[in-house]
């Protein structure tokens, strides 16, 4: 028997999830298109007043990112739960919290990262200056992994429940609030000349804390869910 190798197992979980996502591209695109449409609705609804659009841009992009990443959360464990792969994950001879971290990473790469990449394009719709776009991307880059990490706890807790989707949003959205405040706040602060450093540092701190605690909490919740 091979000795259980942790890096191997982590890479395996990451690759498997990426491969499954690649073969179900429709799911990935749904999240992305949802994000693009929600953000694009605002200029249409509010009208072409540039000053107004510029002020609300960070908030709109961030709220849309929040909703889009929540929309994708259901898929994080649901497939594995339904086909039994989750049982095998729980029974693997490696720490579950690290395996979960690999799953969350794969989830972020397929749902969070695309949002970060298209965000500057959407920002142009709101006539955001280059500096603000840069901060927007930086804040999303730090913030969306936190959304995936926090969301994973909720997804694990509501696994297998009927109507879990609605419950999931009630559970997770309030926890997203700090990320939203400092994410959107970073762009506003840089626009008003305060500098986004403080906000981005706080987002970075959220990310570090979430990286430590969320996989552990998710692992505990998963053990309860598979019981």
């Amino acid at each position: 028997m091979n000795s259980p190798s942790l890096p191997d197992a982590l890479r395996c979980v990451l690759w498997r999830d990426l491969l499954v996502a690649m073969r179900r591209r429709a799911d990935v695109f749904t999240t992305l298109v949802f994000f693009v449409i929600v953000v694009s609705l605002f200029p249409l609804g509010v009208g072409p007043e540039l000053k107004l659009l510029r002020t609300m841009a960070p908030g709109v992009v961030w709220v849309a990112a929040l909703l889009a990443s929540m929309l994708a959360l259901n898929r994080l464990f649901a497939g594995d739960y339904a086909d039994g792969a989750l049982e095998q994950l729980v029974l693997a001879p490696q720490p579950l919290s690290l395996l979960v971290l690999a799953k969350i990473a794969a989830h972020w790469l397929t749902t969070g990262l695309p949002l970060v990449i298209v965000a500057p394009l959407l920002g142009l719709q709101f006539d955001l200056p280059a500096e603000a776009l840069r901060i927007l991307v930086a804040s999303l880059l730090l913030g969306t992994p936190v959304l995936s990490l926090i969301g994973a706890i909720g997804a694990a807790l509501t696994l297998g429940l009927r109507g879990g989707g609605a419950l999931l949003s009630l559970l997770v959205l309030p926890l997203y609030v700090p990320v939203l405040i400092f994410g959107a706040g970073a762009v506003e602060a840089s626009a008003s000349g305060l500098g986004a450093g403080a906000h981005l540092s706080l987002l970075g701190a959220f990310l570090l804390v979430a990286l430590v605690f969320a996989p552990w909490a998710t692992a505990v919740a998963l053990r309860i869910s598979v019981e």
Partner: protein, 206 residues
Amino acid sequence: MLEAINLECVRGERRLFTNLGFRLTPHMLLEVRGANGSGKTSLLRMLCGLLFTAAGKITWNGTEIGVLNEEYRAQIAYLGHLSAVKDELSALENLLFAARLAATSGDTAEVAAALRWFGLEDFRHQPCKTLSQGQRRRVALARLRLAAGRPLWILDEPFTALDTSAVQLVQSLLESHLRAGGMAVLTTHQEVPVAAHSTQRIELKS
């Protein structure tokens, strides 16, 4: 050695079994029988550590499995009702990932050989959603072919959805595992004789 002492299982309001105990040593097979809903699957999931025991304890070589944790999980191979086969992946990919995650043996050649043994060679690159129920079950069972190093096999109805030739394959796999000093716990509704050094039977009453 796997030992269960005074196990009790409660699901919802019902007490499924109580004071259940057994001892499993190398070369031994444990057959769990009982009607639907009598707690066979629950018992097997308890033995894996997926389900908490309401009372009693399960020990592996004298230490509780909850304490051993990952060390214990490295000793078992579990096959449940759900086959853990991903629809989007091919049989080969499924088995490769499963082997790497469980850290059993299994490089590409070994995995291909296991699939060939289960008669899936021609289907190995097809996405599993195009396979039949029985073929998907074969993919799941091919994991056992790679799990020779795991002393304890816990199999929940391994023979369902299989045709006679596949049943024989699983049977011979089990027999060689037991001959080599392995242990196995098994639930089944079919009369499949598995030759073992010694066989214990537990009948769960509902």
